[in-house]
């Protein structure tokens, strides 16, 4: 795909908790409308990387730019930046004391100070889109994992973010619920949303990605188009990683 303007730029990012770097010198760009999929073994730093992008983790070196503005500085107003960067977590993190609708409305009404009726209208539209309009008045605990995650996606979407971060959003789900969440994400991708996705679902990664980034040991080992990456990866480490994965899948089938 022909490169549109850069939405998010990361230059030489280093993350260190004080006992050796977790992320060493990461640089990459995300263009408008692009879907970037991060894969790699557990502990490779992919989730940490995602959390650095919206300031949930501080970084020790390098810089992050959104729309050409540095957002990794000391004076960053994160609450403004985070309205432009939506994030969905592995463990949903809905607010258990609020109904589905109130969960979704918290951001628009408290952060963006939008009028409640207008926000409700949009929330209902989005809920309809993910097939959960009938659940708007229930509490999170009354939902299945897949439903919770779709609500969490709506909660992020209603802020009209420029880019969405997905942190292993299907990892905590029962297998039969994975699909409903991935379908929502696929639809978003087709609608032109800019997304950075951390996932273990290889087939999904292949289907949704414009660009696959393989992280291992805190660095980018390979960055490639999905057909090439999954077809014939350039590096041994990527090949090895993909092999393990297939083996695990075979194993599952054998069960």
């Amino acid at each position: 795909m022909e490169k549109s303007e850069k939405l998010l730029e990361v230059h030489h990012l280093r993350k260190d908790y004080g006992n050796g770097p977790v992320l060493k010198d990461i640089s990459l760009d995300v263009h408008k409308g692009e879907v970037l999929v991060l894969i790699g073994p557990s502990g490779c730093g992919k989730s940490t990387f995602l959390r650095c992008l919206n300031g949930l983790e501080s970084i020790q070196a390098g810089e992050i730019l959104l729309d050409g503005h540095v957002i990794s500085g000391e004076k960053t107003k994160w609450s403004e930046v985070r309205q432009k960067i939506g994030m969905v977590f592995q463990s949903y993190e809905l607010f258990p004391h609020m109904t589905v609708l109130d969960n979704i409305l918290l951001g628009p009404t408290k952060v963006q100070k939008r009028k409640r009726p207008e926000a409700i209208e949009e929330a209902e539209k989005l809920l309809e889109r993910v097939g959960l309009l009938d659940k708007k008045d229930v509490y999170p605990r009354q939902l299945s994992g897949g439903q919770k995650q779709r609500v969490a996606i709506v909660r992020a979407l209603i802020m009209k973010p420029e880019i969405m971060l997905f942190d292993e959003v299907t990892a905590a789900l029962d297998p039969e619920m994975v699909r409903e969440v991935l379908d929502v994400m696929l639809e978003l991708a087709r609608g032109g949303s800019t997304m950075v996705i951390v996932t273990h679902e290889m087939q999904f990664a292949r289907a949704v990605a414009d660009q696959v980034v393989f992280l291992d040991g805190g660095e980018i080992v390979e960055m490639n188009a999905p057909e090439e990456f999954f077809g014939c990866p350039k590096t041994d480490r990527a090949q090895k990683f993909l092999n393990t994965f297939t083996f695990e899948k075979e194993d599952e089938k054998a069960e």
Binding site: S79, R82, Q83, F89, E93, F95, L106, A152
Partner: protein, 214 residues
């Protein structure tokens, strides 16, 4: 029997008044201490933990004796009522702090992150996400503390306050009205404490946010 009822009514009013004042101050002290611990504020955190240990490991009666009989010797004169409220607050503050703290700590850190991720400020997340949940977890312990503190007011007679125990003791000592005095005493405390206990049980059920937290 009714002859002395008004004495008990007055005493109960006094108990309730001082008790409520002490409990309100305890709640404030408790909240402040819990926040200091939650944010691990340096130095202050130490002070709070010393206070909590001192408060939790000494009896209210001894605290009152020190306030009422000890402090005047270095020129600090506090009225009986003042001692009672200060003592109860000193005691209650640590219990309330533990209640709030356990509520706050029960909320996963990721709830804060998910609030921040939709652009809420730290203060907004505390207000809309963390506090409501923490409070609903704390409520049973807070209620138990309220009952505990009202019960503790029964030692106020030791600093010359005409509370329920004082009246009962008077009637026993002066008029040998033991049966009546004791019966009225029990009834008075039941009237004071049973409603609180029922409200506490009801609150506990209600505040669980439609079963959230189970």
């Amino acid at each position: 029997m009714g002859k002395y009822a008004h004495l008990y009514v007055d005493a109960a009013k006094l108990t309730l008044l001082l008790g409520v004042a002490g409990i309100l101050i305890s709640l404030i002290i408790g909240l402040v201490c819990a926040l200091i611990q939650y944010y691990r504020a340096p130095v202050l955190k130490r002070i709070v933990s010393v206070y909590i240990e001192l408060s939790r490991n000494t009896p209210l009666l001894v605290q009152l004796f020190f306030l009422y009989f000890g402090l005047p010797k270095i020129g600090i004169m506090i009225s009986s009522e003042g001692c009672a409220v200060i003592g109860l607050s000193f005691l209650g503050g640590s219990y309330m702090a533990e209640a709030f703290r356990s509520g706050l700590e029960a909320i996963e850190k990721s709830q804060m992150e998910s609030g921040l991720a939709i652009g809420l400020t730290h203060a907004q997340v505390m207000r809309h996400v963390i506090f409501p949940q923490a409070l609903s977890i704390s409520v049973p312990v807070l209620c138990a503390n309220v009952i505990f503190l009202i019960k503790e007011t029964s030692v106020f007679s030791a600093v010359a306050l005409a509370d329920l125990m004082y009246v009962a003791k008077d009637l026993i000592g002066l008029y040998y009205q033991t049966d009546e005095a004791l019966l009225m005493l029990v009834i008075a405390y039941l009237i004071l404490l049973l409603p609180i206990s029922f409200v506490a049980a009801w609150l506990e059920r209600r505040l669980r946010y439609a079963g959230f937290g189970n």
